[in-house]
Amino acid sequence: MKTWILLLMLGTVAMAATVAMAADDEVVDGIPIDSAVFGALKARGIGPAVMSGRIAALDAVANDPRIVYAGAATGGIWKSDDGAISFEPVFDDHCQAIGAIRIDQARPDTVWAGTGEIWVRNSVSVGDGIYKTTNGGESWQHMGLGETERIGHIAIDPVNPDIVYAAALGHLWNANEERGLYKTVDGGETWDKVLYVDENTGCSDVSIVPGAPNMLFASMWDFRRSPDFFRSGGPGSGLYRSHDAGKTWEKLTNGLPEGELGRIAVAVSPAQPGRIFAFVESDDSGFYRSDDMGETWQRVSDDRGVKGRPFYFSLVVPDPVDPDRVYKPGFVIWSSTDAGENFRGLGGWVHVDYHALWIDPNDPTHMYCGNDGGVYVTYNRGGSWRHCKDLPVSQFYRIAVDQERPFNVYGGLQDNGSWRGPSRSPGGIENGDWENMGGGDGFCTIPDPQDPSIVYWEYQGGNVSRRHLDTGDNKDIQPKPQPGDPDFRWNWNTPIALGVEDPSRLYLGSQFLFRSTDRGDSWERISDDLTTDDPKLQRQLQSGGLTVDNTTAENHCAIYTIAESPLDQTVIWAGTDDGNLQVTADDGASWSEVSGKMKDVPDGTWVSCVEPGSHDRATAFVTFDGHRRGDKTPYVFRTDDLGKTWQPLATDALTGHCHVIRQDPVNPDLLFLGTERGLFISLDGGKHWAHYNEDFPQVSVRDLVIQTRENALVIGTHGRGAWIMDDISPLRQITAEGLAQDVFMLDSPPAYQTTGRGKQHSPGNNYFVAGNPSRDAKIIYFLKKRHMFGDMYIEIYQPDGTFLKRLPAGKRKGINVVDWRMRLKPPKVTSAGTLDPMVQYAGNVGPAATEGTYAYKMVKGKATYEGAIEVVANPDSPHSAEDRLLQQETVMRLYGLLEDVSYLAEAMKQVRDDAQETADDLEEGDGLAKKLNTFADDVTVMKGTFTVSEDEVQGISGERQMRENLIRLYASVSQYSGRPGESQLAAIPVYEEGIAEVRGEWEAFLDERLGDLNERLANQEIEALEILSEEEYREREG
């Protein structure tokens, strides 16, 4: 056995050697990395969940409605098994855009998920097919339909659940054949397209007749979107029925509108055979009902509210029990109790914009709904609702930070306004910590760097305001056209930017670039029309197709991204949504359009981000996003000559169309890229990219900002809220040579002691709280492979060289971060029957490690690696060095006294217990037993003079003696990092005297009594009573 293992190891070593030799032959260019490099470098999601976010699909288990799956439009799938009190994300390894969820009610551990957003507003994401889980969401398999882009409805045959229908809407922005109604009969292994009209028409709904599953209804929808325009409706749309499980279909027309149709929702009533409801968009949209299995239709309602935005609100949900009840979730939930003839909107203090509704078939007053504010539960048919506060699926568009301590994160959310939240908060970052800055759809939300009480924010369509947080005042600062000016075209997501050198320079972009130096009170136009101003691309007023829908969402030919160079404020970049990239090097006097210099990018491709370099004024990075014209290619470029020439930076490692790129201000080769599929990082200026995805979901990353003081990367996701990677400094240090080593030690950032604050409240489990960043000191290193064989641990040494502590080391592949709490060993405070938090504190939290250099050694097998951590003064500390030093010395003085008095208590206890035990072993009445017990009692009395006896107290006595008071003094002095109070300092000599007194008494007592007692024991050949030595006591743990 041994030799086999030896051979194994030799073999591995030999193989490694040959591999290494081969590597030497090629010169590695750049720093090739994969996702595993990032290792333990984590990002934490900070929410917000207070307003939750857009839910696109919902399903629950009929026989146990505590089990709910919620599909966020771009935030993944969340599962609850406690009735929507708390949720866990279960789909984070996959595409986060969810269109449909369908539980196989016969085997509820099997759930189908269709990806891609189906409520196809301008901001929607893309999917990559259909997935299935058979273990309740623990793992999912991709089951095909990868090119459909969005799947909106899934229906499972109630008799044979291996037969599943998937309604694929298909590509939104271009013609494509992968759409229509698909069917599988083998549980998803293979699919057939059973209903197809043409490459422009997708399947928008499907409904099976529960009592006769060969009978189905499906609707087909002809639609297309482009950057400035949306068309719902066309010749391909229609309502279809099949009698033979999808083999053949007939188009239904009797009683339905003539002419072109738009989006149609169809739903079979489970409560009455033959009853079908449909909502049909046409040039006169209406709510329809059939009572003869779809042969003939009646128009039963043309209620204005029910007809609102038919391309977007197209869902009909019949009550499972009452055939006359039917719901149409839309702006509100419209409810009818007379089979669709009359509707009223449901109430409750809830968000608007509904896209999902589930009704409990065993109790239809119990419902779950999903809208733009998350998931709600009702037990009275929608009279009142409980909001789930544990779903952080907010959709950021843009993100910003300030320089407060701790810093705050600002950003605008889809349909949920503009918000500010802290990066750290006592007890964690919770819903209540987020503050609303403004309403509508939020986009740029930027704090004024010179006055933290001012925030610039906007709602859709360029409605920019300046809010004064102290007074609540809000000023509309949007520049208005003067006589003679053309209309200003504001992109729905209007860019606001600030100068870096001079943050009083405030920029705003319509088709013109504006700048203000008085916080928006007045504006100077510093450019001509920077866009193409192509009238063919400005159709937003007619946008909608059959139903006009002009909400500024399709505003086009406007500036989308603005940035001033941090190194030269006369260099300003502006990118437009119609593909122009403009740069000025003379503060706006003249502009050059340079997008044409990039041959690989089709003309007119939307410029999503321009990021001037922070190391060279002539450098800039740019991302293009062509998805709104059907082009999902990742486009990333770099220039070092103000746009004259460009290098492409996209590699095969990138997936998803690109939104944002940032260059690290410290290491110019460190780049962060946000795409529709998440975050990508390059350590070599874009030669190689790796997906940051181990614990970070594949969610659309729309914006990024680096908080330079804290070395933190703040990530604005569209669907999973804001995330913070608290320390990016390890990434700055990685080199190709380092990655080739087995172990590569990285620098520890300076660490300092902090005093945390807790929070005393218990909000229940229906509440989202994000963790705070760790304030521990860190030992950081890179391992090429997971550590398997031999010891591995870290030893920390005090500034004077003495050994302090051994820590378990991180063993994983990639970057490891080992936390050291910077505390010395807690004093020995033997447990007492007490709830006193001071005693708990003293016993568990050692004294803070003082400022100084702490060397460490990492042992890994036979090798040793060394480094050091600097523990420095807390930069926020208001205390002088002298006061801090006094505090630290006082703590150690008290620490020593505590150890002394605890030793005495323990020594007494031990010999007292020994004496009693010895006495118990003797025969009753034995004189020696009596002597022993007397001895024990006397020790108990002596002990009782200075410490509460834990074994004699049952319950919580609240009694305190000298030792307990000393513990509390120690805890008090420890918990304040500044100068101890005068009375605290004055108390110390008193304790010193008191302890000396006890010690004197104890030693005298032993002198007098112990020798004699032990002699008697010896005479009876009984083991002597021993006194615990101080050395032995100090060696004990805790």
């Binding site: 051979l7 040959t18 997971r786 550590h787 398997m788 010891d791 591995m792 641990y793 743990e1037």
Partner: protein
Amino acid sequence: MKKIIMITALAAALLSAGVVGAMTADELIDKSLEAQGGLDNIKAVQSIKATGIFMTMGMEFPFTMTQKRPGLMRVDVNINGMEMVQVWDGETAWTINPMAGSAEPQDMSPVEAKSLKTQSDMDGMLVDYKKKGYTVEYIGEDEVEGTAVHHLKLDTNDDLVLDMYFDAEYFLLIMTAAAMTVDEQTINTETYTSDFKESGNFIAAHAMETRMGGQVANNIVIETIEYDIEVDDAIFVKPSAE
């Protein structure tokens, strides 16, 4: 050079699963038992005594663990000078926990008892799993903290399901995950094993890290392991109440 190539080839043959591919549950189990030291050696051991340190919340407590066939186990942990004891005596689990205020032996809760019982299986749960009434399933290839692994699911059919992850190169167990339900609350526990060293006829892990809900709950470092020492059965017997 020739020697190195030969050894390399031999190692490659032995490491034939270096070409990571799907396998059956039994194949994976066989490979993992081989990697530990082989089924024969495992079954030959009559008793084990291990010492080490249990680290939690910044504190360290020395412990001793003693196991003896058939399925007896005792753990002694020194906490603040007090001895805490946990024992599985083949039928029940009992403990003496001075931290709870009493020096009397107490019975452990059914959940704790189940956990202790599985730990007392000296051969490990995979040996003779069928006889023990367990079912196993090879789930597939996966990654644990960036390292390629094979994932095996073991169901005790007694309310305990373990996900076991074996390093794809060495077939040593590097992580075990379980969802423990205590009082209606489900806590995900993961135990990461490393620091594998030769020990007797075996390759044994000498470091374990347990995380609950993603946070590190404790670390264990094993310092010594002795095999086939004399163990008095009396140490497993629950002392009668005084």
